[in-house]
Amino acid sequence: MYGDLGTKLVQHAKRTQALAHLPPYQTEIVRALTREVRDLDKDVNTILAPYAGSFNPSSEPATACSVLVNHLCMRRNKRCLLAYHRVRAEKMEEMCWRGEDVMEEQLPKGNGEGTSMGEGGSSEKSSLSPEEEEYVRQFGDLLSAYKGQWTDIDLTGSLEPPRDLFIDVRVLKDAGEIQTEYGAITLTKNSQFYVRQGDVERLIAQGYLQKLS
């Protein structure tokens, strides 16, 4: 049926909005939809071919109707595809803003905890399509370029209004030594520190530290 695949794709998009991570890219559906559009276009062309450009819709209502339905189906498929890609792109942008490594995040974490850390990941299948990976890379560049104009502000910083200058943090993963205005601190697992929020914000976002309230 025309449009079934489009609906499926939009349902995927809807589900993606509610998920914390990106589900695998639906390569099959996207490909089938594009094929459907091309077939529909071919149909329209074959229907209109005998008229050689002088088609008059009011004299041939039946043909006009089928052409119209084909056209609407194509447009609808296009909208579905656009919506699906837009939702995913927004999700990826959000991850970029939060400073997460999108490529790394998207690897399926099947083989137990601990082992998935630090691996290159090229052998495992990513849930991004190659085009999406390219997009993430370029968006990351764009973001850092825009951020570069606001070095004093740190655009990716927390959007919570700051309450205290200093906060208590607990170290969840070894993060090595960091430099602050008050000297160097060595962050070893399970230790606790009272540090300046601005110094450790990135580490909190990356999951090395946990903020204690």
Binding site: L33, D41, H85, Y146, D152, L155, G157, S158
Partner: protein, 221 residues
């Protein structure tokens, strides 16, 4: 009573520039966050505030290096203030970017809207929409029939370029005219109008009060 009330009560002509800038920045931030459309880029204000932040950072770095224990309390106050300023600007910029991202093509193609963006925001929006278009193109649009490849199609009764909903309801507080008197507000397209005095709070369509907000006769809350 919150900080806005206090700020609103202060007479704008006797307070120093710095305080007024903070007030303006706070107001710009609140307005930007609640208005459905993007507002003019406050270039002069941003320049002054950024300049001051730069100086403050230098001052703090300078004083930290001397490491006098007595000055550290003052330093903490300075740093807290700095963090707050940074937060205001960050949040302000981010809410503008969120609007730009939501309706990128509208912001780039509609001349009056485009004029409200700053130079770097236009750059960002252009680069972002090019990226998105290229992404769509390589993912599926490239294999579409020629006539269906555009992203700003207006055929078939549906405009693909979407703009913000200007008729969204907003909460607004009257600030009064130049002399503090009530101002007349006409709701466009209807015969309804109302008088908004200083301190009055209304829920109205954004389209009806955007002029008053632009003239500084009202502020969003």
């Amino acid at each position: 009573m919150d900080i806005d009330d206090i700020l609103a009560e202060v007479d704008g002509y006797t307070i120093p520039q710095e305080t007024r800038d903070l007030q303006d920045l706070t107001r710009a931030w609140v307005t930007e966050r609640s208005a459905p459309e993007i507002l003019p880029w406050p270039a002069a204000l941003m320049e002054r505030v950024l300049e001051r932040i730069r100086k403050q950072i230098e001052l703090i770095e300078d004083q930290t290096s001397t490491a006098d224990p007595k000055s550290s309390f003052k330093l903490i106050i300075l740093q807290t203030e700095l963090e707050r300023f940074k937060f205001l600007i960050r949040s302000f910029l981010r809410s503008r970017l969120a609007k730009i991202d939501a309706y990128t093509l509208h912001h780039l193609t509609d001349p009056p809207t485009r004029a409200r963006l700053s130079e770097s925001e236009i750059q960002y929006a252009t680069a972002h929409s090019t990226l998105l278009h290229r992404h769509y193109y390589s993912s599926f649009l490239g294999q579409f029939p020629e006539a269906l490849r555009r992203l700003d199609d207006r055929q078939g009764g549906v405009d693909m370029v979407e703009g913000p909903d200007l008729e969204k309801a907003v909460f607004v507080r009257g600030l009064g005219g130049p002399g503090g008197e009530a101002v007349e507000v006409e709701v466009e397209g209807t015969d309804i109008g109302f008088r908004m005095g200083r301190g009055d709070v209304w829920v109205v369509r954004w389209g009806a009060v955007r002029g008053a907000v632009g003239r500084g006769e009202a502020e969003l809350i």
